[in-house]
Amino acid sequence: MRAEENTLEKVVCETGVEIKNADGLHMRPAMQFVDVANKFECDIMVSNDENSVDGKSIMQMSMLAATCGTKLKIKAEGADAQQAINALQELVEEKHFDEPTPSGQKER
């Protein structure tokens, strides 16, 4: 809501993340990503080397077809941009979508 009031005061945040879960950014992780992204007011763009897509659209996110090890850039623009970036980074790199990572599988 703050963003609407202060449209001039645009916060832009950016970060790089790496997909760590073994199966990559398939449907369910893409959905989790979009669900988190949609909790925020700010615009969210996600890009790999070739494309830049809307981080709030599951169609576009899943079409990135990011496999394990892919590096993505997340860019958020709006009042709550920083919170959005933090939440998304945590989902991708720390929780890695609650899925096993390749090293995790090897340990077993």
């Binding site: 449907m27 979009v34 169609m59 576009q60």
Partner: protein, 597 residues
């Protein structure tokens, strides 16, 4: 098919009235001359159709409505997945729901409607297929397989958009000939029999479900026409010749006139055959054969009686589960059985417990189709895993057993254990009824359908625990020869008289005779004129077949002697090639019964 192409073609026809003759496989006799009604198949191949720019807003609204309705439907399905095992399905539904709520996706579709002036269904189909093909290109297998999800979302949306049109088939007001790429059992079961005069499909074979239903309803049908739906445009006159396997698109006046005459002759022949209704099915040397009818719906019982059938040898009960939002109640089952049993009073009515699964399953209720449904959870296996549903059916069959001579038959048995398990459950239900003092026939006969090679090979063991066998040739052939009977690419490999099949059938007949239990044949093979002598010669004395064929088969029985039949069987069982056997049988039947062809 492409309606766009069809539209162009339509213009051409408009100029030249080109008549086209297409050849397919005749699967249900009779002639239909009617307006064609093209119905979309379940995989919805949507033609590109342009609209007037003024109509674009309407189409865009249709897209939005479809997203909303499909989303609601999915949310409900998702909520129904409650158990832990269903969690995966729930996850998948959640993903699909996420797509249906993706504004970006919806905008891409509405933008297409706007920029190209195309229909809602085309925009949905084109967009989602493009997305799916992008997935399919990804090298990572895990991701590329997700294309299937996109197709499922496409189907769900199209069901909303096209589904309304499908009601056409239920709410017909004039006679039509239904033309489709393929028909699902659900679609065929929805037909209003009064108005559907003929069926023609691109796909299918002699024993596809479409063919079976068409024959039992007495509707002329031709299948395996390959590209008929691409040739035809809806609304024009079409002739379906279910005797010769021909479909004529845009027939000229002379052809229509000839066919009207032919159709009349055919009906008269039918009447002549009906005249032998009162005469017994007895060979010239006095061997009495029992002819029973296969039915799918209770109202077909009357047809069996009219055609001279002496009972029901196969009462399929899947119809109770199709076309309805919820599972049938015990009362639904009971009413359906009671209605049929009352028609036959003290003549046998063999009720087959539900044979859901594989091609007959109400697929829309299922999210992920089994990769190999014919080898999957179907038929008795499905029942043994869904005991509440199974017991409800058994209870109502038992309750109906006091009204006449009801018998129970278990389908797709593959081992003695399975048949024992089914019987144990039946006994549980009997005990329940005893406790509640509800009457039933305690000596009800229990039979086993022999329709898998394993059942045929262990028939001697199965016979110890069964009152009768019924050979279901359709599945027996499919499982023995590993041929999908509905797949036109391999359907020519499907044959009732393959030596492998005949050896299995012979084993079953011999084992049934040794154990002195009842035996009948209820597959499609039993309604093929050229196989009758062979079956009689192999020792079959009870045949259950599609009702409209009863008079013709009776006529054949009445024109042969058992001695002729024995000779035919002896000759055939000594042959080693399917081709040799079929041509021999064709020749023999033509010599002995020239009038049958």
């Amino acid at each position: 098919m492409s309606r766009h192409q069809a539209a162009k073609k339509n213009v051409r026809i408009w100029q030249k009235f080109t008549m086209e003759i297409k050849k397919g496989t005749a699967v249900s006799p009779g002639v239909a001359i009617a307006k064609s009604l093209i119905i979309d198949s379940e995989d919805y191949r949507i033609p590109r159709r342009s609209i007037k720019p003024t109509q674009r807003m309407i189409e865009i609204q249709r897209v939005r409505n479809a997203f909303r309705a499909a989303g609601d439907e999915l949310a409900q399905l998702k909520a129904e997945q409650k158990t832990i095992e269903q969690r995966k399905i729930k996850d998948i539904f959640a993903v699909h729901l996420s797509f249906l709520r993706d504004r970006n996706l919806r905008r891409r579709i509405t933008d297409l409607v706007h920029s190209e002036s195309v229909t809602a269904e085309y925009a949905v189909s084109a967009t989602l297929r493009e997305i799916a093909s992008n997935f399919a290109k990804v090298k990572d297998a895990y991701i590329s397989e997700r294309a299937a999800d996109i197709y499922d979302i496409e189907r769900r949306l199209l069901k909303q958009l096209v589904g309304g049109k499908r009601e056409d088939v239920e709410h017909l007001t004039e006679e039509v000939a239904v033309v489709a790429r393929n028909l699902s059992p659900t679609q065929t079961a929805e037909f209003n029999k009064k108005f559907v005069k003929g069926i023609a499909t691109d796909a299918g074979g002699r024993t596809s479900h479409t063919a079976i239903v068409a024959r039992s309803l007495g509707i002329p049908a031709v299948v395996a026409l390959e590209d008929l739906t691409e040739t035809i445009s809806g609304g024009g006159i079409v002739i379906i010749d279910g005797n010769r396997g021909i479909v004529i698109v845009n027939p000229d006046d002379e052809t229509i006139r000839q066919y009207e005459e032919y159709s009349l002759e055919f009906t008269e022949l039918g009447h002549r055959l009906d005249a032998i209704k009162e005469k017994p099915a007895e060979t010239r040397d006095g061997m009495r054969i029992t002819l029973l009818g296969n039915i799918e719906f209770p109202d077909e019982a009357e047809v069996v009686l009219q055609k001279g059938g002496e009972g029901i040898g196969l009462y399929r009960t899947e119809f109770l589960y199709l076309n309805r939002p919820s599972e049938p109640t015990e009362e639904d089952h009971y009413q359906a059985y009671a209605e049929t049993v009352r028609v036959f009073k003290h003549r046998p009515v063999i009720i087959r417990t539900v044979d859901l699964g594989a091609d007959k399953y109400t697929q829309s209720k299922r999210f992920a189709p089994e990769p190999n449904p014919f080898l999957g959870l179907r038929s008795i296996r499905f029942c043994l895993q869904n005991l509440t549903m199974f017991k409800t059916q058994l209870r109502s069959i038992l309750r109906a057993s006091v009204l006449g001579e009801v018998k129970i038959m278990f389908p797709l048995i593959t081992s003695p254990q399975e048949s024992m398990q089914a019987k144990m459950i039946l006994h549980d239900v009997m005990e329940d009824l005893d406790e509640e003092s509800i009457a039933y026939n305690k000596d009800i006969q229990i039979g086993v359908m022999i329709e898998t090679p394993s059942a045929a090979l262990t028939a001697s063991t199965l016979a110890r625990d069964a009152d009768f066998f019924s050979i279901g040739t359709n599945d027996l052939i499919q499982y023995t020869l590993a041929v999908d009977r509905g797949n036109e690419l391999v359907s020519t490999l499907y044959s009732s008289v393959d030596p492998a099949v005949l050896r299995l059938i012979r084993t079953v007949i011999q084992d049934a005779h040794k154990a002195q239990i009842g035996l009948s044949v209820c597959g499609e093979m039993a309604s093929e004129p050229e196989y009758i002598m062979l079956l009689l010669g192999m020792g079959v004395r009870t045949i259950s077949l599609t009702p409209p064929m009863i008079p013709k088969i009776k006529q054949i029985i009445r024109s042969v002697t058992i001695e002729d039949c024995n000779n035919v069987a002896r000759a055939v069982l000594g042959m080693n090639s399917e081709r040799q056997i079929s041509s021999y049988l064709r020749d023999v039947t033509r010599t002995i019964l020239p009038e049958a062809f």
